[in-house]
């Protein structure tokens, strides 16, 4: 049996952890939305500013989950935390920016090109945390709870002890990031099943 022990939603104008609001978009701010969260949460990781939006979203949500479940950093060995992420549009948002760099901006940008793969965000999270575990990024037509149930079960049978999962969909001004931590123990936490995961994910992600 597995449990959903922490989760984070990051949308166009709100960010919440375990269902509790942690940030709301300040439209009067000069800072971009993700930068507003970064500053308000007093994160210190200058690499954040080099990341594309997919990686920034993954960074913010995974750091917020770590604050909600700080014990994971010490309770698991460096290769026991699997990263299982998926989305619908791959890295299309950054792909478009890279195409713009060589079609309209003089030359192909190497700093954009290195982010034109959806799994780069997994690398960013692994680097920050020195996590050497399993990584997987899938592109699916929509958020599918069953996909995450299947693949956490598989990775738990091959040596991973916990899984940081994520639906990380960003394209244009649409943002739908939902990261959740799956552990094999979790007193009082919701059990990992399709119904609970669908409820926690919320109707907007299920029907999008």
């Amino acid at each position: 049996m597995s449990f959903i022990t922490a989760y984070c939603h990051l949308r166009e104008n709100v960010c919440s952890v375990n269902g509790e609001l942690v940030a709301t978009l300040d439209k009067s701010s000069e800072d971009a939305w993700f930068k507003q969260i970064y500053k308000a949460q007093e994160f210190v990781y200058p690499k954040f500013y080099k990341m594309d939006t997919l990686s920034q979203a993954g960074y913010l949500a995974s750091e917020l989950i770590k604050r909600a479940a700080p014990y994971i950093v010490n309770d698991y060995a460096d290769d026991e935390i699997a990263l299982i992420f998926a989305n619908k549009s791959s890295s299309a948002d950054t792909d478009l920016r890279f195409i713009n760099s060589y079609e309209h901006n003089g030359a192909p940008s190497p700093s954009l090109f290195v982010y034109t793969l959806p799994n780069i965000v997994l690398g960013e999270i692994a680097i920050l945390n020195k996590w050497y575990g399993e990584n997987m990024f899938a592109v699916l037509p929509k958020f599918t709870p069953d996909f995450f149930l299947t693949h956490t079960q598989i990775l738990f049978s091959t040596g991973s002890k916990t899984a940081l999962c994520g639906w990380l969909e960003i394209l244009g001004d649409k943002i739908h990031a939902f990261l959740f931590l799956i552990e094999q123990a979790g007193t009082g936490k919701p059990e990992l099943n399709i119904e609970n995961l669908s409820n926690i994910a919320g109707p907007e992600i299920i029907h999008n």
């Binding site: 791959s90 792909d95 680097i127 990024f137 049978s157 040596g159």
Partner: protein, 360 residues
């Protein structure tokens, strides 16, 4: 126990597995000079498929590969509810529609082959292919599906060519994996496909065993290989342990070997740390170029063909040792019975993956 077989390659070397094997066994390379292919109209060496026009080259290649697969397995398997198709690719049909790189091509496969389940796309940079075969093996082992078809495909586009040019990562000659004079990759395109199944009887030609392996992140850099080979070292160790296989049992290693200075050095360090530096090894990039998300599948298929033909294939492009740890790189084709083969891959995002194929 998972079986793997019905392998297919479509590449510059041929439209079928047989044509590809003939070219490989003659040490022919699919890499040619293409005029004005670069961002500033530079001539570049590429492993590109000639005479291959289609509205979506990606979709066309995957359909052709799956049609060939259909001829090699029980005719009821593809449309079965117990079958899943896994697509392995980095950029899919990006050249047709940037914001729909995978869904329309996947939908075409569903329609064309009456697939019962929605295909899953694995997009993990250059380890996608090896990872996808491991996912297939795990889905079958855990009885979630009885059969999994893995199709690895990527096509050359301005996008990837300009991108690798911007990183100064493209070789000015056909790529030379592990060689002292290597200076970058040669991009390639193609499609590889295999069927992983719990049932031996679905294969018209006898399959091999798939011993699924593990992936491990380097936790080091998003686009630079680790200096210690940590992720690859860990992936190989976990794959050997999980299958209770010792390094001494490995007859051949199909390495990733992209021919960039740092990648090949990283691999040499990892193989040395794993105690595998004496095992015959090649990189197939000198034949196909680097086919990105297809590479792990195409190279696994080529390794299976090596096993079936008891042949160690020369590592094309290699002449002189160019890594700090020496490896046993195959310099001429030779006959040898190959029972246990290790396939590895490493890529952007710090990913590393490995798997083992064993003869029955």
């Amino acid at each position: 126990m998972s079986y793997i077989g019905a392998e297919v390659i479509i590449s510059p070397l041929g439209e079928t597995t047989e044509e590809n094997w003939r070219a490989l066994s003659e040490n022919r390379s699919g890499i040619t000079k293409v005029n004005a292919a670069g961002y500033n109209d530079e001539n570049l060496f590429l492993g590109s498929i000639q005479n291959h026009a289609a509205e979506s080259r990606f979709t066309a290649l995957t359909i052709r590969a799956l049609s060939q697969i259909a001829e090699k397995i029980d005719r009821n398997v593809l449309s079965s509810e117990r079958t899943i198709v896994i697509l392995s690719s980095t950029k899919g049909a990006l050249d047709v529609n940037v914001t729909d790189q995978f869904q329309s091509p996947a939908a075409m496969l569903v329609e064309e082959f009456k697939l019962a389940n929605q295909p899953v796309v694995i997009s993990n940079a250059c380890i996608s292919g090896v990872l996808a075969i491991n996912v297939a093996g795990n889905l079958v082992k855990n009885k979630i599906y009885d059969h999994a078809v893995v199709i690895g495909c990527d096509v050359i586009s301005d996008f990837v060519v300009y991108g690798f040019q911007s990183l100064f990562a493209i070789s000015d000659q056909p790529c030379k994996p592990f060689d002292a004079a290597r200076n970058g990759i040669t991009l390639g395109e193609g499609c590889g496909a295999v069927v992983v199944s719990a049932e031996k009887s679905i294969f018209s030609e006898s399959p091999l065993h798939l011993l699924t392996g593990s992936s491990a992140n380097d936790a080091n850099h998003i686009s630079g290989p680790s200096r210690t080979g940590e992720g690859l070292f860990r992936s190989i160790g976990k794959t050997l342990n999980a299958n209770q296989i010792s390094g001494e049992e490995i007859d051949f290693i199909s390495a990733h070997g992209t021919a960039t200075v740092f990648n090949d050095e990283m691999e040499a360090i990892a193989f040395d740390r794993a105690g595998l530096s004496h095992i015959p090894l090649n990189s197939l990039k000198g034949y196909f170029g680097h086919t990105l998300g297809a590479a792990g599948v195409i190279e696994t298929v080529a390794s299976m063909q090596m096993m079936r033909n008891s042949t160690l294939l020369k590592s094309v492009g290699f002449g002189e040792t160019g890594t700090s740890r020496s490896l046993n790189i195959i310099t001429e084709n030779r006959q040898k019975e190959l029972n246990t083969v290790l396939k590895t891959a490493s890529g952007f995002g710090g990913g590393n993956a490995s798997l083992i194929i064993r003869s029955l």
